[in-house]
Symmetry: C2
DNA sequence: ACGAAATGAGAGCGGTGCTCTTGATTCCGA
DNA sequence: TCGGAATCAAGAGCACCGCTCTCATTTCGT
């Protein structure tokens, strides 16, 4: 359906990619705040006004970068899950967590773009919701596999959370018990709490051996969603 | 020591406060990205150049707002702890967590300023580290009180984390067992993971009954640092 | 009372996002 | 094939930004 019709369409695709590449370079170098359309255009040897043929506004460019960042992080998580397909659930879980952390540390500004303050507008554009869900889906899948065999022991839900838990489970993973669905969402947010604190410098002069710290915390996270240390 | 010497010094204090107030207003309305020194000066009826007599740069103004935000949040946490002095440790813990979340939801842009992407520079100015630690200290204190009576049962630390745990405990709370110190730092980051996901919209169309969800998650967090449901 | 320091206002520099117009190029259907 | 329509690059320009410099005024300490 999106067949390239001619030289013009081909050029458009290439130029769009070149703009995003250059923008990503500037993002990695200076952060989202200092990303400037004029500087991108300058680096690409084109007039700044021409750039608006490809991205209607700076926010649209940033949104494209956000989607790419979500996709890149999601791909890393999926790759980690695939590479550890034969391992025990808890080891797969920690592998996925490690992959998320490694990507975040390698691309701090892109990470900040997606898990820091939402800079463009207050509500995320619709196009970002699907890519944003990829890491969460990997975590769910990892837990689902573990749950396939025998049931996982989780502490009972407090009374007040029962309706929300049922609704949440129906939405994100209908075949999972509500208590597990809740635990997964909690662990999901806590994983990014750990990563964000490290990337954003909150652990400065607090945690030194961050590899060991994260490994232990991620393992605990996995146990909190019912993954057992052995067997 | 910082006695007001005359009308001039008094005016300087008042104007500095007025600038910060107006800046905070714009921050709350539009976010840090759209905070403009010129707009602040315009609103205050002064020349934009005059504003530089009070804050050498935009980043310095933001830094002042960051410190104030840390202090405001820290005060809320301390107040919650003080107001629940007689309650059981786990209830105190959840009260502190609730206070943090409530402040964050009430001041999303200020929260983003301190726990979102670090916008001014890459490393936080020295003046921000003490205010930034206040919430953490409240959490530590809450756990310390609980620990006063009998020892808290915590799962043993993995071998690889022992040295870091010992160092960390010596740094943040010498009288606490290393396992508890680690658990506290983990819970600290996870608390802000929960709050950040809610404030930054990651729970959009995922978690609906966020009050109940957060209450349960915060309670679990307290249990993870060894606070018992009853007793 | 007077010199020094602090303060305010204005002009101006280089940068930004974005719009509008103009002219050239490419596409596509009659 | 050819001519209208769509697309595109470029330049000028607007309003805004952070920040600096200069210069007049005001306040302070001695």
């Amino acid at each position: 359906m999106t067949t390239v019709r001619g030289a013009r369409a081909r050029a458009r695709i290439e130029i769009t990619a070149a703009i995003k590449d250059e923008a990503r370079t500037q993002l990695a170098a200076e952060g989202a705040a200092k990303l400037s359309l004029r500087a991108v255009a300058r680096e690409l040897g084109m007039a700044s006004s021409a750039l608006y043929r490809y991205f209607p506004s700076r926010d649209d460019l940033l949104t494209a970068l956000i989607i790419d960042a979500y996709d890149a992080l999601g791909a890393e998580a999926e790759k980690a899950a695939a590479d550890t397909a034969g391992l025990r659930p808890l080891d797969r879980w920690t592998a996925v967590c490690r992959a998320v952390r490694a990507w975040a540390l390698a691309h701090p500004h892109e990470y900040a773009l997606i898990y820091g303050s939402p800079v463009p507008g207050y509500t995320a554009p619709q196009d970002t919701v699907a890519p944003a869900a990829r890491v969460g889906l990997v975590l769910i899948e990892t837990a689902r596999r573990a749950h396939g065999g025998e049931g996982i022991a989780l502490p009972p839900l407090p009374e007040a959370l029962r309706p929300e838990a049922a609704r949440l489970a129906a939405d994100v993973a209908p075949d999972l018990p509500p208590a597990l669905a809740v635990a997964l969402v909690v662990a999901w947010s806590q994983l990014f709490g750990l990563v964000s604190f490290e990337v954003f410098g909150q652990f400065h002069r607090v945690v030194e051996d961050r590899d060991a710290f994260f490994a232990a915390a991620a393992r605990r996270l996995g146990q909190d969603v019912g993954l057992l240390p052995r067997g």
